[in-house]
Symmetry: C3
């Protein structure tokens, strides 16, 4: 496209690069408060890396769609026969946003302004009252790369997406595939706006040092979550023994069933930074509930044993999830402005499960609805604090090592001019 | 004024000039989203060109006033005997805004802070507790140029306003004068905030390519509105024949009565870009209503024939109107911020018309209240879309040629260092 | 602190210094509207000078606290035994804001995120799950200078606060001490947001030229307030005679009791610009009420004579107060954004006074609740006006001479690279 107008608005390159940080310490204030850095976050992170968009379970039939909005970007993710397609939510005529809703179903994609009509594969099908020489093929919707990892949909807005999504797909598939997320059904959704920068939302999720704030959640999390084995505080040693016993039990069961459980932790050092691990749950060990027992009577993936712990997965920069024997809960983090962030939560159950018979909606959603709300309060308070000129980065505790890795990945992503080469090897984490 | 403080805030010249665009295509995104360009819009367009302020019918008696606000500017337009005056709505003492309301009536203009009191001609009449050497004549309100075109009030904040208002006044007067707008009465007003840049509001008004969104309005608009004769789509040929018959009928009638109807279209190429034309209406052909029949029993201007079509007039950058045999509806577009715009609508009827007897308020206002609301939704969706980094300018259809002219006029206005000389000749448009 | 990230956000030095103004005229528009100048106001004025934080009466017991927020700063002011301490409201771990409320009581200061726990003197007492080499003494809350002037708490965020607070403390103590504010009790508080720049709020308070807007307040203010003796308008001469008689009576009484009353006016020319004076009240002469009679039956400070007028004190940049024989009312002005400002009002009565018996809450607060509301409307209108490009500074009337001094002090504070040396002498104002 020839540029006829002068440049205006945030420009890549306006931020002096490379950005830097002090290892082991939280990021400096401007990373959470500067509109210029936020513009770079949208450009260099969310528009350049693979980001999580939603699940195939949400768009089972042709014409079912999701919209994914962050900063000023908006992307349509739509089912087109066997394919999932992604395209910018911007009409090629005068730029009008095409689809307003978070999710829905359309026959074709029709612009509400002048009725330009696009097929579910993005092709312009009809534009009223054009002259004879109008070439529809020049005005298809601008496409976006899309990739499903066993039902988890990732998109990338870059022309040349990071290639190591293929490697990561291969690494996580043995963990994910047995749970059949592709064929699950959406039981519930929520979308909340948290009053803090998206990085505070992600950092908050990468440690359980703060989990005393989550009484509903920690019923089933071992209190030693996040600690290195040699750093367990003395008062938590009994809980650690309980954890070890539950882990032994889970590992024996998984070995018998051919289910992988070992942690793979490559949160930084590669484009698609990720972590996956199956871990035992405290209490009844089945699901997120007050006593740890299942909240859906039907298994997700056809397992007969309910005590499969949680298969927890995290992908930089905006995804985490937990897959249990009875349901899955997946999260996406979408930056709105420098100080506001959308958190979308989707609960999936088996396609045959019926509300009121197999599960109660309140019971299914209560733990994470409460947890999200609690985290929202924390994030708002954190945003206020790091906005102070008196804030200076503080030290991470050992149990916050994944926050450190998030920050490290983020700084690398900001400094990356081009997608990096595939890392030579991979390390396997040892703790959960 | 000697500047004692350093410059701050948007400065003319901060935007690299000249700005440019690709002919035939919509404007690039920053024109709708950049705060810097918006500041230039306020400065180089709304504070330099003639803009529409309201109607004389709204301020019939001395002391009746309107306020016109856009960006951070606010102007008082006030009746002062036979004159209409305009002045900045800023006290000369410590700068307080003088009049808060959109319209009203005052004896003198009294500042609510320290009671500095100005006459309706702007002179400072009284300032309490000043020393003997205080010279009131140095502190009159800062005046603004004002010009009435047969009852339509235009103002210009520039020291040296574009001179071609005189030419335009002469061109439009034969069309306007017979309708007696000066002596009309205000039947209704509305003011809505649309969530889009002011240019999206104006562009939206310059084509009927989108008029399927306006079921109430298109009852009386021929479906061929906006098409060039040789570009009528085949399915609209019957409607075009109906339009031609109605036009013939209207022209014969106007020729007999001495009413001009031919289009004058000089939307770009001059400072006071404008378009005026009398066109026939579909249906009963009298007014804006479901079946095209009149909504006020009294004629506006004393005509006995109700089938006079609509006299439609547009003036860059912020005005359009329709004058019918029974009422007139006039619009002003006032930018608030880069992404919000006020649209003011005023319905005028004959001075003697009585609500409840000659007209029903809901019936009079329903078409344009609905149309404004529908346009507001369109404009909001357009603003979201053009804000996307993925937006790129798209091609205008033939029926959007007036949008093209609006953009062309706008770019010229932005690039004009000084008011341009009067254009040598004028062209007369051929279509409606 | 080593800076690892590039600078972002407002930077000291971005504003061309020195700033200037035209003496005798109001400040130019950008001082009220520019985000850059506002950032400098927060940095060079509110974070460099002594500012008013609240009263000791509000925090009588250890653990009682106030929070003081302005711009992005937030400071805790807390009772710690006999001491009052002040510290940044920012956790040393990951920067979270510690205390959310305007005032309250805590045992220790516990961060809601990860339970880092600080003593009321700011020392870090406990940080969970840290490695053995973690040194708590490195992570005390960042302290802020604090100074009580006979119960009025001032804080300074600068490393090296202006030293002349000592001189000012000595000058005002003879006036303040007899009233025993330290041992008063809080009867009421209010906090309102005014929609104008903080300087408009302060300027508004420094003159009674606008007091016709305050019918409740001017019951007890002599109409000649703010005029120089030789500039009293003729129509106010009778009121001036009444004022002189009341003054004579008050002075005789104060001389007998050893209470100082003479004005000390050093509003500019020093860091802690201030003014203090005891003046007679009109009407019954006792307090702020419709007829000037007392609104609390108990004396504040143990006086038996109720006709002690008002001891009025003003300190740049954000404080004024009135101490009467029966109650005191103190105000702090806290900038939120360039165009919004918090005004906090606290009413103090004798520690033994009981609501419903000694005073009625509505009666106590009605005058200043109305006055604050009226001033809020004025300030909002002033902000709108000075935001206009058409605004230019206007001349101050003689009765606005203290506004002139406020502006003069402000410009000096903005230009001060370092705290200025103590001024050599001081002048004593002659009027009230």
């Amino acid at each position: 496209m020839t540029t006829f107008a002068p440049p205006a608005g945030p420009v890549t390159g306006a931020l002096p690069l490379p950005v830097r940080r002090r290892p082991g310490f939280s990021l400096e204030g401007p990373f959470y408060t500067s509109a210029e850095i936020f513009a770079e976050d949208i450009d260099r992170v969310f528009s350049s890396q693979w980001i999580f968009a939603g699940t195939e379970a949400e768009i089972p039939r042709t014409g079912d769609y999701l919209t994914v909005t962050f900063g000023h970007q908006s992307v349509i993710v739509i089912r087109d026969g066997d394919d999932v397609r992604a395209m910018h939510n911007v009409c090629r005529h005068r730029g009008t946003r095409l689809l307003d809703e978070t999710c829905g179903t359309v026959g074709n994609i029709v612009c509400g302004y002048h009725k330009w009509t696009y097929r579910t594969n993005g092709e312009l099908m009809f534009a009223p009252a054009q002259p004879p020489n109008f070439d529809k093929t020049c005005f298809a919707l601008r496409s976006v790369h899309v990739r499903s990892l066993d039902g988890l949909i990732f998109i990338c807005l870059a022309a040349d997406p990071p290639a190591d999504i293929d490697t990561v797909a291969g690494l996580v598939s043995p963990y994910l595939a047995p749970h059949g997320l592709k064929n699950a059904k959406v039981a519930a959704r929520s979308e909340i706006v948290e009053h803090g920068n998206w990085k505070l939302v992600m950092e908050n999720n990468r440690e359980c040092y703060h989990c005393d704030n989550h009484p509903e959640l920690i019923c089933t999390f071992f209190p030693t979550y996040g600690y290195e084995p040699d750093e367990i505080p003395p008062n938590l040693l009994p809980a650690y023994d309980r954890f070890l016993a539950a882990e032994n039990d889970l590992h024996a069961k998984c070995d018998a069933a051919g289910l992988p459980y070992e942690a793979i932790e490559e949160l930084d050092g590669r484009d698609v930074g990720f972590r996956i691990q199956r871990e035992s749950l405290d209490g009844a060990g089945e699901s997120f509930s007050a006593d740890g027992s299942a909240v859906c009577r039907r298994s997700l993936g056809g397992f007969t044993d309910k005590r499969l712990g949680r298969l927890s997965m995290h992908v930089q920069p905006n995804f985490w999830s937990h897959v249990l024997s009875d349901h899955a809960v997946v999260f996406s983090v979408l930056p709105l402005t420098v100080s506001t962030t959308v958190v979308r939560t989707t609960w999936l159950v088996d396609a045959e499960a019926e509300e009121g018979i197999d599960y109660d909606l309140d019971e299914l959603t209560t733990v994470w609805n409460h947890t999200n709300e609690q985290d929202g309060e924390i994030v708002a308070r954190a945003q206020l604090g790091v906005s102070s000129p008196a804030y200076e980065p503080g030290p991470y505790a050992p149990s916050e090592y994944q926050v450190e890795k998030f920050c490290s990945w983020y700084i690398d992503a900001m400094n990356a001019g081009e997608p990096r080469p595939e890392p030579a090897g991979r390390s396997t984490g040892e703790s959960g």
